[in-house]
């Protein structure tokens, strides 16, 4: 599904990713953990195609194709989805208008027919119910005035509607209360499939109790410094990152 080789990325002459390599197989749920500032969000932005970064070396292959030259919208159409650590408020853009525009834009890019309004409404309603999102919220401008947890749920709602094949969840658990965490995790688990992979960035083992990962990767100073199975997360929870700071140097 996703293969990253020796990725070197700067922002304003500051090295953020420093020869990062990572492979996520079809259907795999990979967790990424690592100290603050180690470059986890940067990695997610670079995969999604944010402009601010200078990629100096390396490649990101999505199903064998290097996506580094593609626009963010083209990557999205190929199945990349990023649930933002800090979802943005977009005043003046009604949530439903937004959802319909993005769904149809992706369908168009894939040469699929646009959704009819009733079909669209049905899908939104179903996804909203699963994630226990109030219909009232869907009537407001996108994310405007939503609580931190509501914004995170809205990200997962979008993910459910867009049915991407490579999903990045950047600290989706932060800001969620215990019930919301369970609801969101169930929403994610429901999407797990043979042809869909996940990159789950988190600081807490707790999320991984709900979304059980196949692999766990430790990032430090812009590199993956250790990879293992789900038990690695427990080990980190117990011992912290002290051992890994040295490894990256």
């Amino acid at each position: 599904m996703l293969e990253i080789n020796n990725l070197v990325v700067d922002i304003e002459d500051k090295r953020i990713l420093n020869g990062l390599s990572l492979t996520v197989n079809d259907g795999e749920v990979a967790a990424i953990m690592g100290p603050n500032g180690s470059g986890k969000s940067t990695l997610s932005y670079v995969i999604a195609g944010k402009e601010d970064y200078t990629v100096l070396d390396g490649e990101i292959l999505l199903n064998g194709e290097n996506i580094l030259e593609l626009e963010p919208s083209e990557r999205a159409a190929k199945g990349v989805f990023l649930a933002f650590q800090y979802p943005l408020e977009i005043p003046g853009v009604a949530t439903m208008t937004f959802l319909k525009s993005v769904l149809n834009a992706q369908r168009k890019a894939r040469d699929e027919d646009e959704l009819t309004t009733p079909d669209f409404m049905r899908r939104v309603k179903k996804a909203a119910e699963t994630l226990e999102i109030d219909q009232e919220m869907l009537k407001r401008a996108l994310n405007v005035g939503f609580s931190g947890g509501e914004k995170k749920r809205m990200e997962i709602l979008q993910m459910a509607l867009l049915e991407p094949s490579f999903c990045i969840l950047d600290e989706t658990d932060s800001g969620l209360d215990i019930d919301a965490l369970r609801i969101v995790a169930e929403g994610v688990n429901a999407l797990r499939a043979k042809d869909r992979s996940f990159l789950v960035i988190t600081h807490y083992q707790r999320l991984l109790n709900y979304i059980v990962p196949d692999t766990v990767h430790v990032m430090s100073k812009g590199k993956v410094v250790r990879s293992g199975g789900k038990e690695l997360a427990l080990e980190l929870e117990a011992n912290g990152y002290a051992d890994y700071r040295e490894l990256a140097a």
Binding site: A48, G49, E51, S73, L82, L88, G92, V93, F98, V102
Partner: protein, 439 residues
């Protein structure tokens, strides 16, 4: 002592020659002629306003008006019918219609009871009691565009709405310009609203592309107390047009006035709003959305005069500038010494979509009372890269992502329009402007 002979530009010299020729042929009594002469004297003495005149700093009319085209004659039926047939603005909006072609009133349709429409040419010739109330608020005196209109006005309408009359459907004023060679029009409409009267006034201004015509319209609203007026104005003038327009409003007590203007046409345009509160406890909301591209210029100039206590004014203007176009917003809130408890807020926000785009914002407060709440603000920026990335990461190609953000930006200025079909038509206009921009 030396006598300074001002150097006339070709347009100024042309206007002087033109006025000499037309002053005796334009309609009206001796008193009308006196008004015309007084108005033209303002232009003759000072010339066309230029950048060293404070109010015209960003819209140098002397420089922008390159000639004085002939006044458009009253058109023949053979010209009016095809021009009216081509008019698209608010075609789907049902209501009363007063249609002007090249500034001359040609038809009135479905005028409801309690409303009286008199062609201005007729009113000027025969006299009309409402002529005495023409002239606009004090803050509009000596304004060059109004003076030009007063000097050259050939027709228009006096519309009287009787006390207590509520119009269920809007009153649509269509100003249709037509012609293949440059011409000038100066229509004037006076709307007198009786106490307690209510209506929605919809104004559209359209004209041919590729023709450097000049339009200079003035709409005056003189309102009694407890009126409720919604006003929507569309500038869809031709792409070479020099379009001046003025809205003058005097409100009585307990009045409600809401105006939204959309600028989607014209090469050079300037829309002026002069509003005076003459009665207490009135509320005015004035706003607009302007879309600019190419090398065009659009100026919105606004003066709100709080002459009495306890009134509220709200202004929100949005401007989107693309290409090498220039936007201008000049807004002034005046609070007179006795106008205590005034609440005035004015905001102008601009979005620049290209390197060559420019915006001049000049908001001002002139406050002589001490117990007031007034604020003004102006912003000018580009599309937010973070928001663009968010939308693109969801799959919207860049042009669509930009269009969605621009639409949201301008949409806020259209929100106050209560008439759904009118708001939708204007929203579609924004969308098609954006689609045109994407190519």
């Amino acid at each position: 002592m030396s006598v300074i002979t001002p150097i006339r530009t070709p347009a100024e010299a042309g206007l002087i020659d033109l006025y000499k020729v037309v002053r005796n042929t334009l309609p009206g009594t001796k008193a009308t002629l006196k008004h015309r002469d007084e108005a033209f004297a303002v232009i003759e003495a000072a010339g066309l306003p230029h950048r060293r005149v404070e109010d015209w700093k960003y819209t140098d009319l002397r420089n922008l008006m390159q000639e004085a085209p002939p006044l458009a004659a009253r058109p023949h039926l053979a010209e009016t019918d095809p021009a009216i047939a081509k008019s698209k603005a608010f075609a789907a909006v049902s209501g009363a219609r007063v249609t002007f072609v090249n500034g001359h009133l040609v038809t009135t349709e479905a005028i409801p009871e309690g409303v009286e429409v008199t062609p201005l040419a007729e009113a000027l010739t025969n006299g009309h009691p409402l002529l005495a109330r023409m002239g606009g608020p004090e803050v509009a005196r000596d304004n060059a565009a109004v003076a030009l209109n007063s000097a050259f006005v050939a027709d228009g309408a006096i519309i009287a709405v009787a006390d207590g009359v509520t119009l269920e459907e809007p009153l649509v004023l269509r100003f249709i310009n037509t012609g293949t060679k440059a011409f000038a029009t100066s229509p004037r409409v006076v709307l007198a609203m009786g106490d307690g009267a209510a209506l929605t006034l919809v104004e559209s201004h359209e004209g041919p592309g590729g023709v450097g015509y000049h339009s200079n319209s003035v709409v005056e609203i003189v309102a009694g107390s407890s009126v409720d007026i919604a006003h929507i104005r569309l500038n869809a003038e031709g792409d070479r047009a020099l379009a001046l327009s003025t809205l003058m409003v005097t409100l009585g007590a307990d009045a409600k006035f809401a105006s939204t203007g959309v600028v989607a046409g014209g090469h050079v345009s300037r829309h002026q709003v002069f509003l005076a509160f003459a009665g207490e406890r009135s509320v005015a909301t004035i706003g607009g959305a302007t879309m600019l591209a190419g090398k065009s210029l659009a100026d919105t100039t606004l003066v709100v005069d709080h002459r009495v206590p306890g009134c509220q004014s709200r202004e929100l203007f949005k401007t989107v500038v693309d290409g090498e176009a220039t936007g201008v917003f000049q807004g002034k809130i005046i609070v007179r010494q006795h106008a205590q408890k005034t609440d005035g807020q004015m905001m102008s926000a601009a979005l620049l979509l290209s390197e060559g785009a420019a915006m001049n914002n000049k908001p001002e407060l002139e406050i002589f009372a001490d117990d007031v709440v007034c604020a003004h603000g102006a912003t000018c920026g580009q599309l937010d890269d973070e928001l663009l990335f968010y939308l693109m990461a969801r799959g919207l190609p860049r042009p669509e992502a930009e269009a969605l953000l621009v639409q949201a930006f301008l949409g806020e200025a259209l929100e106050p329009i209560a008439l759904e079909d009118v708001r939708e038509e204007l929203t579609d206009m924004v969308a098609s402007w954006l689609a045109g921009r994407a190519g």
